[in-house]
Protein backbone atom coordinates (compact mmCIF):
# COMPACT_ATOMS: atom_id res chain seq x y z
CA UNK A 1 0.00 0.00 0.00
CA UNK A 2 1.00 3.58 -0.58
CA UNK A 3 2.09 5.51 2.53
CA UNK A 4 -0.74 8.04 2.26
CA UNK A 5 -3.33 5.27 1.94
CA UNK A 6 -1.85 3.42 4.90
CA UNK A 7 -2.19 6.52 7.08
CA UNK A 8 -5.80 7.06 6.01
CA UNK A 9 -6.79 3.43 6.58
CA UNK A 10 -5.01 3.30 9.95
CA UNK A 11 -6.91 6.43 10.99
CA UNK A 12 -10.25 4.84 10.12
CA UNK A 13 -9.28 1.72 12.04
CA UNK A 14 -8.36 3.85 15.04
CA UNK A 15 -11.93 5.19 15.06
CA UNK A 16 -11.42 8.42 13.14
CA UNK A 17 -14.83 9.40 11.75
CA UNK A 18 -14.17 13.02 10.87
CA UNK A 19 -11.80 14.32 8.25
CA UNK A 20 -11.51 17.91 7.03
CA UNK A 21 -8.93 18.86 4.44
CA UNK A 22 -7.87 20.84 1.44
CA UNK A 23 -5.94 19.51 -1.59
CA UNK A 24 -2.18 19.90 -1.75
CA UNK A 25 0.49 17.62 -3.22
CA UNK A 26 2.02 15.27 -2.05
CA UNK A 27 -0.75 14.19 0.35
CA UNK A 28 -3.83 14.16 -1.90
CA UNK A 29 -4.25 10.41 -1.58
CA UNK A 30 -5.23 10.92 2.08
CA UNK A 31 -8.34 13.09 1.46
CA UNK A 32 -9.22 11.00 -1.60
CA UNK A 33 -9.10 7.80 0.42
CA UNK A 34 -10.92 9.34 3.39
CA UNK A 35 -13.72 10.71 1.23
CA UNK A 36 -14.32 7.25 -0.20
CA UNK A 37 -14.07 5.38 3.10
CA UNK A 38 -15.99 7.84 5.29
CA UNK A 39 -18.85 8.09 2.81
CA UNK A 40 -19.48 4.40 3.40
CA UNK A 41 -19.36 4.49 7.19
CA UNK A 42 -22.36 5.49 9.26
CA UNK A 43 -21.58 8.74 11.03
CA UNK A 44 -18.53 9.33 8.86
CA UNK A 45 -17.97 12.95 7.85
CA UNK A 46 -15.65 14.17 5.12
CA UNK A 47 -15.53 17.80 4.05
CA UNK A 48 -13.23 19.29 1.47
CA UNK A 49 -13.05 22.72 3.06
CA UNK A 50 -12.63 26.09 1.38
CA UNK A 51 -9.19 26.53 2.93
CA UNK A 52 -6.64 24.97 5.26
CA UNK A 53 -7.73 27.49 7.86
CA UNK A 54 -11.36 26.43 7.64
CA UNK A 55 -10.43 22.74 7.73
CA UNK A 56 -8.41 23.01 10.95
CA UNK A 57 -11.28 24.90 12.60
CA UNK A 58 -13.73 22.22 11.50
CA UNK A 59 -11.32 19.84 13.24
CA UNK A 60 -11.72 21.98 16.37
CA UNK A 61 -15.51 21.77 16.17
CA UNK A 62 -15.63 18.00 15.70
CA UNK A 63 -13.05 17.52 18.45
CA UNK A 64 -15.11 19.67 20.86
CA UNK A 65 -17.99 17.35 20.06
CA UNK A 66 -15.83 14.41 21.14
CA UNK A 67 -15.03 12.80 17.79
CA UNK A 68 -11.75 11.30 16.64
CA UNK A 69 -10.72 13.72 13.94
CA UNK A 70 -7.91 14.21 11.46
CA UNK A 71 -6.66 16.63 8.85
CA UNK A 72 -3.65 16.45 6.58
CA UNK A 73 -1.64 18.79 4.42
CA UNK A 74 1.85 19.71 3.32
CA UNK A 75 4.24 22.59 4.19
CA UNK A 76 2.37 25.69 2.92
CA UNK A 77 -0.96 24.28 4.06
CA UNK A 78 0.40 23.43 7.50
CA UNK A 79 1.53 27.06 7.84
CA UNK A 80 -2.10 28.08 7.31
CA UNK A 81 -3.25 25.55 9.88
CA UNK A 82 -0.95 26.94 12.56
CA UNK A 83 -3.66 29.26 13.89
CA UNK A 84 -5.89 26.29 14.57
CA UNK A 85 -3.05 24.18 15.98
CA UNK A 86 -2.32 26.90 18.53
CA UNK A 87 -6.04 26.95 19.46
CA UNK A 88 -6.20 23.14 19.66
CA UNK A 89 -3.28 23.29 22.09
CA UNK A 90 -4.79 26.06 24.19
CA UNK A 91 -8.25 24.48 24.21
CA UNK A 92 -6.65 21.10 25.00
CA UNK A 93 -8.41 19.33 22.19
CA UNK A 94 -7.23 16.03 20.69
CA UNK A 95 -6.63 15.89 16.94
CA UNK A 96 -4.28 14.22 14.48
CA UNK A 97 -2.57 16.36 11.85
CA UNK A 98 -0.47 14.89 9.06
CA UNK A 99 2.25 16.92 7.34
CA UNK A 100 3.63 15.25 4.21
CA UNK A 101 6.23 17.94 3.94
CA UNK A 102 7.88 19.20 0.79
CA UNK A 103 10.68 21.46 -0.35
CA UNK A 104 10.35 25.05 0.90
CA UNK A 105 10.22 27.87 1.93
CA UNK A 106 7.32 29.45 0.08
CA UNK A 107 5.64 27.30 -2.49
CA UNK A 108 8.92 25.45 -2.90
CA UNK A 109 8.33 22.17 -4.67
CA UNK A 110 6.61 18.86 -4.08
CA UNK A 111 9.74 16.80 -3.57
CA UNK A 112 10.49 15.15 -0.21
CA UNK A 113 12.10 17.41 2.36
CA UNK A 114 12.49 17.70 6.12
CA UNK A 115 12.43 21.46 6.23
CA UNK A 116 9.40 21.64 8.55
CA UNK A 117 11.21 20.14 11.57
CA UNK A 118 11.39 23.42 13.48
CA UNK A 119 7.80 24.33 12.68
CA UNK A 120 6.62 20.92 13.86
CA UNK A 121 8.67 20.53 17.01
CA UNK A 122 8.51 24.10 18.31
CA UNK A 123 4.74 24.28 18.24
CA UNK A 124 4.62 26.23 15.01
CA UNK A 125 2.02 28.84 15.85
CA UNK A 126 1.80 31.58 18.45
CA UNK A 127 2.04 30.93 22.16
CA UNK A 128 3.91 28.68 24.53
CA UNK A 129 2.95 25.18 23.50
CA UNK A 130 4.14 21.90 22.03
CA UNK A 131 2.53 19.19 20.00
CA UNK A 132 3.54 15.54 19.97
CA UNK A 133 5.44 14.94 16.71
CA UNK A 134 5.94 11.43 15.35
CA UNK A 135 8.12 10.74 12.31
CA UNK A 136 7.60 7.35 10.67
CA UNK A 137 10.13 6.04 8.16
CA UNK A 138 8.20 3.22 6.50
CA UNK A 139 4.67 2.52 5.41
CA UNK A 140 4.27 0.02 8.25
CA UNK A 141 5.37 2.55 10.82
CA UNK A 142 3.22 5.24 9.21
CA UNK A 143 0.21 3.03 9.87
CA UNK A 144 1.26 2.02 13.38
CA UNK A 145 2.05 5.57 14.48
CA UNK A 146 -1.12 7.06 12.99
CA UNK A 147 -3.10 4.45 14.89
CA UNK A 148 -1.23 5.20 18.10
CA UNK A 149 -1.48 8.96 17.65
CA UNK A 150 -5.26 8.93 18.15
CA UNK A 151 -4.79 7.28 21.54
CA UNK A 152 -2.06 9.73 22.51
CA UNK A 153 -4.19 12.68 21.39
CA UNK A 154 -7.12 11.53 23.53
CA UNK A 155 -4.96 10.52 26.48
CA UNK A 156 -3.29 13.92 26.80
CA UNK A 157 -5.91 16.08 25.05
CA UNK A 158 -3.24 17.34 22.67
CA UNK A 159 -2.80 17.66 18.91
CA UNK A 160 -0.46 15.02 17.49
CA UNK A 161 1.48 15.71 14.32
CA UNK A 162 2.61 12.98 11.95
CA UNK A 163 5.63 14.38 10.13
CA UNK A 164 6.39 12.58 6.89
CA UNK A 165 7.38 13.73 3.46
CA UNK A 166 6.44 13.15 -0.15
CA UNK A 167 8.56 10.03 -0.33
CA UNK A 168 6.82 8.37 2.60
CA UNK A 169 3.43 9.39 1.25
CA UNK A 170 4.04 8.04 -2.25
CA UNK A 171 6.14 4.98 -1.47
CA UNK A 172 4.48 1.57 -1.62
CA UNK A 173 5.39 -1.22 0.80
CA UNK A 174 3.56 -4.25 2.13
CA UNK A 175 1.80 -3.42 5.39
CA UNK A 176 0.03 -5.28 8.17
CA UNK A 177 -2.83 -3.08 9.25
CA UNK A 178 -3.97 -2.77 12.87
CA UNK A 179 -7.42 -4.10 13.87
CA UNK A 180 -10.46 -1.86 13.61
CA UNK A 181 -11.66 -0.33 16.88
CA UNK A 182 -15.43 -0.04 17.22
CA UNK A 183 -16.07 3.64 17.94
CA UNK A 184 -18.56 2.75 20.65
CA UNK A 185 -15.83 1.03 22.62
CA UNK A 186 -13.60 4.10 22.80
CA UNK A 187 -13.30 5.56 26.31
CA UNK A 188 -15.88 8.31 27.00
CA UNK A 189 -14.71 11.94 27.25
CA UNK A 190 -15.96 13.97 30.18
CA UNK A 191 -15.24 17.41 28.81
CA UNK A 192 -17.00 17.54 25.47
CA UNK A 193 -19.53 20.11 24.25
CA UNK A 194 -22.62 18.11 23.37
CA UNK A 195 -25.53 20.06 24.85
CA UNK A 196 -26.11 20.47 28.59
CA UNK A 197 -28.51 17.58 29.06
CA UNK A 198 -28.80 16.47 32.68
CA UNK A 199 -25.70 18.40 33.69
CA UNK A 200 -24.58 22.02 34.09
CA UNK A 201 -23.57 23.76 30.87
CA UNK A 202 -19.91 23.80 29.92
CA UNK A 203 -17.68 25.95 27.81
CA UNK A 204 -14.33 25.46 26.16
CA UNK A 205 -12.32 28.62 25.69
CA UNK A 206 -8.78 29.86 25.31
CA UNK A 207 -9.34 33.50 26.24
CA UNK A 208 -8.08 33.95 29.79
CA UNK A 209 -7.78 37.68 30.44
CA UNK A 210 -6.44 37.41 33.98
CA UNK A 211 -2.65 36.96 33.64
CA UNK A 212 -2.52 34.89 36.84
CA UNK A 213 -5.12 32.50 35.48
CA UNK A 214 -3.41 32.40 32.08
CA UNK A 215 -0.11 31.69 33.79
CA UNK A 216 -1.69 28.80 35.64
CA UNK A 217 -3.13 27.52 32.36
CA UNK A 218 0.37 27.64 30.87
CA UNK A 219 1.83 25.79 33.86
CA UNK A 220 -0.89 23.20 33.52
CA UNK A 221 0.07 22.68 29.87
CA UNK A 222 3.73 22.57 30.91
CA UNK A 223 3.09 19.84 33.48
CA UNK A 224 1.36 17.85 30.77
CA UNK A 225 4.30 18.36 28.41
CA UNK A 226 6.72 17.22 31.12
CA UNK A 227 4.73 14.03 31.62
CA UNK A 228 4.73 13.37 27.89
CA UNK A 229 8.48 14.05 27.74
CA UNK A 230 9.03 11.29 30.28
CA UNK A 231 6.53 8.73 29.06
CA UNK A 232 6.12 8.98 25.32
CA UNK A 233 9.64 8.77 23.91
CA UNK A 234 10.20 6.66 20.81
CA UNK A 235 13.44 5.89 19.04
CA UNK A 236 15.28 3.15 17.18
CA UNK A 237 18.93 2.17 17.19
CA UNK A 238 20.84 0.08 14.65
CA UNK A 239 24.37 -1.35 14.99
CA UNK A 240 25.39 0.94 17.83
CA UNK A 241 27.02 -1.68 20.13
CA UNK A 242 30.52 -1.39 18.68
CA UNK A 243 30.04 1.95 16.91
CA UNK A 244 32.72 4.61 16.94
CA UNK A 245 30.46 6.98 15.11
CA UNK A 246 26.67 7.22 15.12
CA UNK A 247 24.50 8.72 12.42
CA UNK A 248 21.47 10.59 13.79
CA UNK A 249 18.64 10.88 11.27
CA UNK A 250 14.84 10.73 11.25
CA UNK A 251 12.14 9.69 8.80
CA UNK A 252 13.12 9.22 5.18
CA UNK A 253 16.67 10.42 5.83
CA UNK A 254 17.10 7.58 8.34
CA UNK A 255 16.18 5.05 5.64
CA UNK A 256 18.86 6.45 3.35
CA UNK A 257 21.31 6.64 6.26
CA UNK A 258 20.69 3.00 7.11
CA UNK A 259 21.47 2.03 3.52
CA UNK A 260 24.66 4.07 3.75
CA UNK A 261 25.62 2.47 7.08
CA UNK A 262 25.20 -1.01 5.60
CA UNK A 263 27.60 0.03 2.83
CA UNK A 264 30.29 1.40 5.14
CA UNK A 265 29.92 -1.57 7.49
CA UNK A 266 30.88 -3.80 4.55
CA UNK A 267 34.10 -1.81 4.39
CA UNK A 268 34.66 -2.39 8.10
CA UNK A 269 33.70 1.04 9.41
CA UNK A 270 32.07 0.89 12.83
CA UNK A 271 29.11 3.15 12.29
CA UNK A 272 25.65 2.91 13.85
CA UNK A 273 22.31 4.69 13.59
CA UNK A 274 20.17 6.54 16.11
CA UNK A 275 16.71 7.39 14.80
CA UNK A 276 14.40 9.58 16.88
CA UNK A 277 10.80 8.53 16.13
CA UNK A 278 9.19 10.99 18.50
CA UNK A 279 10.68 14.31 17.42
CA UNK A 280 8.83 16.00 20.24
CA UNK A 281 9.40 14.82 22.83
CA UNK A 282 12.96 14.41 21.55
CA UNK A 283 14.76 11.38 23.04
CA UNK A 284 17.28 13.62 24.74
CA UNK A 285 18.25 11.44 27.68
CA UNK A 286 19.06 8.31 25.70
CA UNK A 287 21.11 10.31 23.19
CA UNK A 288 23.03 11.88 26.07
CA UNK A 289 23.79 8.38 27.39
CA UNK A 290 24.97 7.25 23.97
CA UNK A 291 27.25 10.28 23.72
CA UNK A 292 29.08 9.13 26.85
CA UNK A 293 30.43 6.18 24.85
CA UNK A 294 30.40 7.40 21.28
CA UNK A 295 32.16 10.69 20.74
CA UNK A 296 31.24 11.34 17.13
CA UNK A 297 27.72 12.01 16.02
CA UNK A 298 26.95 12.56 12.36
CA UNK A 299 23.59 14.29 11.86
CA UNK A 300 22.05 13.87 8.44
CA UNK A 301 18.88 15.74 7.47
CA UNK A 302 17.10 16.67 4.27
CA UNK A 303 17.25 20.34 5.25
CA UNK A 304 19.88 22.90 6.19
CA UNK A 305 20.23 21.74 9.78
CA UNK A 306 17.31 21.76 12.19
CA UNK A 307 17.24 18.57 14.29
CA UNK A 308 21.00 19.04 14.73
CA UNK A 309 20.13 21.75 17.28
CA UNK A 310 18.20 19.23 19.39
CA UNK A 311 21.11 16.80 19.11
CA UNK A 312 23.49 19.50 20.35
CA UNK A 313 21.17 20.35 23.24
CA UNK A 314 20.92 16.67 24.10
CA UNK A 315 24.64 15.86 24.22
CA UNK A 316 25.46 19.26 25.69
CA UNK A 317 29.03 19.34 24.42
CA UNK A 318 29.59 15.68 25.28
CA UNK A 319 30.40 14.63 21.71
CA UNK A 320 31.64 16.09 18.47
CA UNK A 321 28.80 16.77 16.08
CA UNK A 322 29.06 16.84 12.33
CA UNK A 323 26.21 17.86 10.08
CA UNK A 324 25.37 17.04 6.49
CA UNK A 325 22.17 18.24 4.85
CA UNK A 326 20.55 18.41 1.45
CA UNK A 327 17.66 20.91 1.35
CA UNK A 328 15.23 21.80 -1.41
CA UNK A 329 13.69 18.40 -2.03
CA UNK A 330 16.85 16.52 -3.03
CA UNK A 331 16.87 12.83 -2.08
CA UNK A 332 20.52 11.90 -1.63
CA UNK A 333 21.45 8.31 -2.42
CA UNK A 334 22.87 5.95 0.20
CA UNK A 335 26.10 5.98 -1.84
CA UNK A 336 26.47 9.74 -1.44
CA UNK A 337 25.85 9.57 2.29
CA UNK A 338 28.22 6.62 2.70
CA UNK A 339 31.01 8.65 1.06
CA UNK A 340 30.44 11.60 3.39
CA UNK A 341 30.32 9.28 6.40
CA UNK A 342 33.57 7.50 5.50
CA UNK A 343 35.40 10.70 4.70
CA UNK A 344 34.47 12.10 8.11
CA UNK A 345 35.26 8.75 9.77
CA UNK A 346 38.79 8.73 8.38
CA UNK A 347 39.39 12.44 9.01
CA UNK A 348 38.66 11.81 12.66
CA UNK A 349 41.07 8.83 12.54
CA UNK A 350 38.43 6.42 13.79
CA UNK A 351 39.53 3.66 11.45
Amino acid sequence: MRGNHVIAEAAIRAGCRFYFGYPITPQNEIPEYMSERLSKIEGGVFIQAESEIASIHMVIGASMAGGRVMTSSSGPGISLKQEGISFLSALELPAVIVNMSRGGPGLGNIAPSQSDYFQATRGGGHGDYRTIVLAPNSCQEAGDLTYKSFDLADKYRIPVLILGDGMLGQMMEPVELPPEIPVKRLPPKEWTITGAKGRPSRFIRSLILDPFEEEEHNWKLMRKYEKISKEELLWETFSIEDAKMIVVAFGTAARIAKGAIKRVREEGLKVGLFRPISLWPFPTKILKEISRKVKHLFVFEMNMGQMVEDVKLAVDGGAEIHFYGRPGGIIPTPLEISRIISSYYYQKKLG
Binding site: F18, F20, I47, E50, A62, I193, G195, S201, F203, I204
Partner: protein, 252 residues
Protein backbone atom coordinates in the same frame (compact mmCIF):
# COMPACT_ATOMS: atom_id res chain seq x y z
CA UNK B 1 -48.33 37.73 43.00
CA UNK B 2 -47.77 36.55 39.45
CA UNK B 3 -44.29 36.90 38.00
CA UNK B 4 -44.52 38.51 34.59
CA UNK B 5 -40.89 39.23 33.81
CA UNK B 6 -37.71 37.34 34.71
CA UNK B 7 -34.32 36.32 33.46
CA UNK B 8 -34.50 33.63 30.76
CA UNK B 9 -33.40 30.19 31.98
CA UNK B 10 -30.78 30.05 29.25
CA UNK B 11 -29.04 33.17 30.54
CA UNK B 12 -26.69 32.86 33.52
CA UNK B 13 -26.90 35.14 36.52
CA UNK B 14 -23.73 37.06 35.59
CA UNK B 15 -23.96 40.81 35.15
CA UNK B 16 -23.19 41.82 31.55
CA UNK B 17 -19.88 43.62 31.04
CA UNK B 18 -21.09 45.50 27.96
CA UNK B 19 -21.02 49.31 27.71
CA UNK B 20 -24.14 51.31 28.48
CA UNK B 21 -26.44 51.38 25.47
CA UNK B 22 -24.72 48.43 23.76
CA UNK B 23 -26.96 46.09 21.80
CA UNK B 24 -25.20 42.85 22.81
CA UNK B 25 -27.00 42.46 26.15
CA UNK B 26 -30.39 42.87 24.47
CA UNK B 27 -29.47 40.35 21.78
CA UNK B 28 -28.16 37.86 24.36
CA UNK B 29 -31.43 38.14 26.26
CA UNK B 30 -33.53 37.72 23.14
CA UNK B 31 -31.61 34.60 22.10
CA UNK B 32 -32.03 33.24 25.64
CA UNK B 33 -35.77 33.81 25.46
CA UNK B 34 -36.01 32.00 22.12
CA UNK B 35 -33.97 29.04 23.41
CA UNK B 36 -36.28 28.84 26.44
CA UNK B 37 -39.45 29.09 24.39
CA UNK B 38 -38.32 26.44 21.93
CA UNK B 39 -37.28 24.23 24.86
CA UNK B 40 -33.86 23.54 23.38
CA UNK B 41 -31.53 24.64 26.19
CA UNK B 42 -30.22 21.11 26.71
CA UNK B 43 -29.40 20.50 23.08
CA UNK B 44 -28.08 23.91 22.09
CA UNK B 45 -24.40 24.59 21.49
CA UNK B 46 -23.16 28.13 20.95
CA UNK B 47 -19.99 29.31 19.26
CA UNK B 48 -18.89 32.72 20.57
CA UNK B 49 -16.53 34.90 18.52
CA UNK B 50 -13.45 36.98 19.10
CA UNK B 51 -14.74 40.49 19.69
CA UNK B 52 -16.88 42.21 22.31
CA UNK B 53 -19.02 39.10 22.71
CA UNK B 54 -15.99 36.86 23.31
CA UNK B 55 -17.16 36.31 26.87
CA UNK B 56 -20.63 35.19 25.75
CA UNK B 57 -20.01 31.85 27.48
CA UNK B 58 -20.30 33.68 30.80
CA UNK B 59 -23.85 34.69 29.90
CA UNK B 60 -25.42 31.84 27.96
CA UNK B 61 -26.33 28.84 30.08
CA UNK B 62 -25.80 26.38 27.24
CA UNK B 63 -22.68 24.50 26.09
CA UNK B 64 -20.32 26.89 24.33
CA UNK B 65 -17.13 26.33 22.31
CA UNK B 66 -14.93 29.30 21.51
CA UNK B 67 -13.79 29.98 17.97
CA UNK B 68 -10.87 32.09 16.89
CA UNK B 69 -11.47 35.31 14.99
CA UNK B 70 -13.61 34.63 11.93
CA UNK B 71 -13.68 30.84 12.20
CA UNK B 72 -16.99 30.35 13.98
CA UNK B 73 -18.67 28.99 10.83
CA UNK B 74 -15.95 26.34 10.46
CA UNK B 75 -16.08 25.36 14.14
CA UNK B 76 -19.88 25.22 13.95
CA UNK B 77 -19.60 23.04 10.84
CA UNK B 78 -17.42 20.56 12.73
CA UNK B 79 -19.76 20.57 15.74
CA UNK B 80 -22.99 20.26 13.79
CA UNK B 81 -21.65 17.53 11.48
CA UNK B 82 -20.49 15.56 14.50
CA UNK B 83 -23.75 16.16 16.40
CA UNK B 84 -26.44 16.60 13.74
CA UNK B 85 -29.33 16.41 16.23
CA UNK B 86 -28.14 19.37 18.32
CA UNK B 87 -28.96 23.03 17.68
CA UNK B 88 -25.81 24.98 16.89
CA UNK B 89 -25.55 28.74 16.63
CA UNK B 90 -22.65 31.11 16.09
CA UNK B 91 -22.58 34.62 17.46
CA UNK B 92 -20.39 36.91 15.38
CA UNK B 93 -19.64 40.57 14.86
CA UNK B 94 -19.21 42.36 11.54
CA UNK B 95 -15.41 42.22 11.46
CA UNK B 96 -15.50 38.56 12.45
CA UNK B 97 -18.03 37.44 9.87
CA UNK B 98 -17.64 39.89 6.99
CA UNK B 99 -13.86 40.45 6.93
CA UNK B 100 -11.65 37.75 8.39
CA UNK B 101 -14.33 35.06 8.29
CA UNK B 102 -15.89 35.82 4.90
CA UNK B 103 -14.65 32.64 3.27
CA UNK B 104 -15.76 30.37 6.12
CA UNK B 105 -19.20 32.00 6.21
CA UNK B 106 -19.90 31.99 2.48
CA UNK B 107 -18.79 28.38 2.12
CA UNK B 108 -20.78 27.22 5.13
CA UNK B 109 -23.87 28.88 3.62
CA UNK B 110 -23.05 27.41 0.24
CA UNK B 111 -22.76 23.91 1.67
CA UNK B 112 -26.08 24.50 3.37
CA UNK B 113 -24.57 23.79 6.78
CA UNK B 114 -27.52 23.41 9.08
CA UNK B 115 -26.72 25.92 11.82
CA UNK B 116 -27.80 29.45 12.69
CA UNK B 117 -25.66 32.55 12.69
CA UNK B 118 -26.41 35.64 14.74
CA UNK B 119 -24.58 38.46 12.99
CA UNK B 120 -24.28 41.59 15.10
CA UNK B 121 -23.62 44.55 12.82
CA UNK B 122 -22.53 47.74 14.55
CA UNK B 123 -20.25 49.00 11.81
CA UNK B 124 -17.07 49.09 13.90
CA UNK B 125 -14.49 46.87 15.56
CA UNK B 126 -15.76 47.50 19.08
CA UNK B 127 -13.39 45.55 21.29
CA UNK B 128 -10.22 46.84 19.69
CA UNK B 129 -11.30 50.45 19.96
CA UNK B 130 -13.57 51.47 17.09
CA UNK B 131 -11.60 50.79 13.93
CA UNK B 132 -13.23 50.65 10.50
CA UNK B 133 -15.23 47.47 9.89
CA UNK B 134 -16.27 45.86 6.60
CA UNK B 135 -19.76 47.23 7.30
CA UNK B 136 -18.71 50.79 8.22
CA UNK B 137 -20.86 52.95 5.98
CA UNK B 138 -19.50 55.58 3.62
CA UNK B 139 -18.77 58.79 5.47
CA UNK B 140 -18.72 57.10 8.90
CA UNK B 141 -15.89 58.20 11.15
CA UNK B 142 -13.78 55.50 12.79
CA UNK B 143 -10.29 55.45 14.26
CA UNK B 144 -8.92 54.05 10.99
CA UNK B 145 -11.12 55.99 8.56
CA UNK B 146 -10.40 59.55 9.66
CA UNK B 147 -12.67 62.11 8.02
CA UNK B 148 -15.18 59.35 7.27
CA UNK B 149 -15.02 56.21 5.13
CA UNK B 150 -14.21 57.09 1.52
CA UNK B 151 -14.82 54.56 -1.22
CA UNK B 152 -11.65 55.46 -3.15
CA UNK B 153 -9.48 55.04 -0.10
CA UNK B 154 -11.35 52.47 2.00
CA UNK B 155 -13.64 50.65 -0.42
CA UNK B 156 -17.36 50.09 -0.05
CA UNK B 157 -19.14 48.44 2.87
CA UNK B 158 -20.00 44.77 2.30
CA UNK B 159 -23.66 43.70 2.13
CA UNK B 160 -22.89 40.25 3.50
CA UNK B 161 -26.47 39.13 4.11
CA UNK B 162 -27.45 39.92 0.52
CA UNK B 163 -24.40 37.98 -0.66
CA UNK B 164 -25.33 35.01 1.48
CA UNK B 165 -28.88 35.08 0.15
CA UNK B 166 -27.46 34.26 -3.28
CA UNK B 167 -25.91 31.07 -1.89
CA UNK B 168 -28.06 28.06 -2.79
CA UNK B 169 -27.56 26.49 0.64
CA UNK B 170 -29.01 29.31 2.71
CA UNK B 171 -32.57 28.88 3.98
CA UNK B 172 -33.46 31.96 5.96
CA UNK B 173 -31.82 35.37 6.11
CA UNK B 174 -33.29 38.46 7.74
CA UNK B 175 -31.92 41.85 8.80
CA UNK B 176 -33.35 43.40 11.94
CA UNK B 177 -32.31 45.97 14.54
CA UNK B 178 -32.46 46.34 18.32
CA UNK B 179 -32.88 50.10 18.55
CA UNK B 180 -36.57 50.13 19.52
CA UNK B 181 -39.02 47.83 21.34
CA UNK B 182 -40.80 46.90 18.12
CA UNK B 183 -37.52 46.14 16.36
CA UNK B 184 -36.43 44.02 19.31
CA UNK B 185 -39.62 41.99 19.02
CA UNK B 186 -39.02 41.54 15.30
CA UNK B 187 -35.48 40.45 16.06
CA UNK B 188 -36.78 37.85 18.46
CA UNK B 189 -39.22 36.51 15.89
CA UNK B 190 -36.46 36.39 13.27
CA UNK B 191 -34.16 34.46 15.57
CA UNK B 192 -36.94 32.05 16.41
CA UNK B 193 -37.64 31.54 12.72
CA UNK B 194 -33.95 30.94 12.02
CA UNK B 195 -33.71 28.35 14.82
CA UNK B 196 -36.87 26.66 13.57
CA UNK B 197 -35.40 26.49 10.07
CA UNK B 198 -32.42 24.70 11.57
CA UNK B 199 -34.63 22.35 13.57
CA UNK B 200 -36.36 21.43 10.33
CA UNK B 201 -33.00 20.79 8.69
CA UNK B 202 -33.49 23.39 5.96
CA UNK B 203 -29.89 24.62 5.86
CA UNK B 204 -27.99 27.75 6.75
CA UNK B 205 -29.89 30.50 8.56
CA UNK B 206 -28.74 33.94 9.61
CA UNK B 207 -30.13 36.98 11.38
CA UNK B 208 -28.20 40.19 10.91
CA UNK B 209 -28.91 42.63 13.70
CA UNK B 210 -28.08 46.32 13.45
CA UNK B 211 -26.89 47.09 16.92
CA UNK B 212 -25.88 50.37 18.58
CA UNK B 213 -22.31 50.98 19.74
CA UNK B 214 -22.57 54.38 21.47
CA UNK B 215 -19.04 54.17 22.86
CA UNK B 216 -17.29 53.87 19.50
CA UNK B 217 -19.84 55.89 17.58
CA UNK B 218 -19.17 58.65 20.11
CA UNK B 219 -22.88 59.17 20.74
CA UNK B 220 -25.27 58.89 23.64
CA UNK B 221 -27.29 55.65 23.71
CA UNK B 222 -30.39 57.51 22.57
CA UNK B 223 -28.53 59.21 19.71
CA UNK B 224 -27.13 55.84 18.67
CA UNK B 225 -30.63 54.35 18.44
CA UNK B 226 -31.78 57.27 16.34
CA UNK B 227 -28.70 57.01 14.11
CA UNK B 228 -29.62 53.42 13.22
CA UNK B 229 -33.06 54.60 12.02
CA UNK B 230 -31.87 57.75 10.33
CA UNK B 231 -28.63 56.63 8.69
CA UNK B 232 -27.72 52.98 9.02
CA UNK B 233 -30.92 51.40 7.65
CA UNK B 234 -30.51 53.42 4.45
CA UNK B 235 -27.40 51.35 3.74
CA UNK B 236 -28.60 48.16 5.40
CA UNK B 237 -32.37 47.98 4.82
CA UNK B 238 -34.33 45.91 7.35
CA UNK B 239 -36.48 42.95 6.38
CA UNK B 240 -36.44 39.37 5.20
CA UNK B 241 -33.76 38.89 2.57
CA UNK B 242 -34.32 35.21 1.89
CA UNK B 243 -36.91 32.76 3.13
CA UNK B 244 -37.41 29.25 1.82
CA UNK B 245 -39.07 28.03 5.00
CA UNK B 246 -42.57 28.33 3.57
CA UNK B 247 -43.74 29.65 6.93
CA UNK B 248 -46.29 32.43 7.07
CA UNK B 249 -44.74 35.89 6.78
CA UNK B 250 -45.00 38.19 9.77
CA UNK B 251 -47.85 40.62 9.30
CA UNK B 252 -45.98 43.70 10.47
Amino acid sequence: MKKVFSRPKSIKKNPFHYCPGCGHSIIHRVIGEVIDELGIQEITIGVPPAGCAVLAYFYFDVDMGEASHGRAAAVATGLKRALPDRIVFTYQGDGDIAAIGTAETIHAASRGENFTTIFVNNGVYGMTGGQMAPTTILGQNTTTSPGGRKERRDGFPIPLSEMLAVAKGSAYIERTAVNSPSNILKTKRAIEKAFRAQMRGLGFSLVEILSPCPTNWKMSPVEACHWIDEVMVKHFPLGVIKDITGEKKDVN
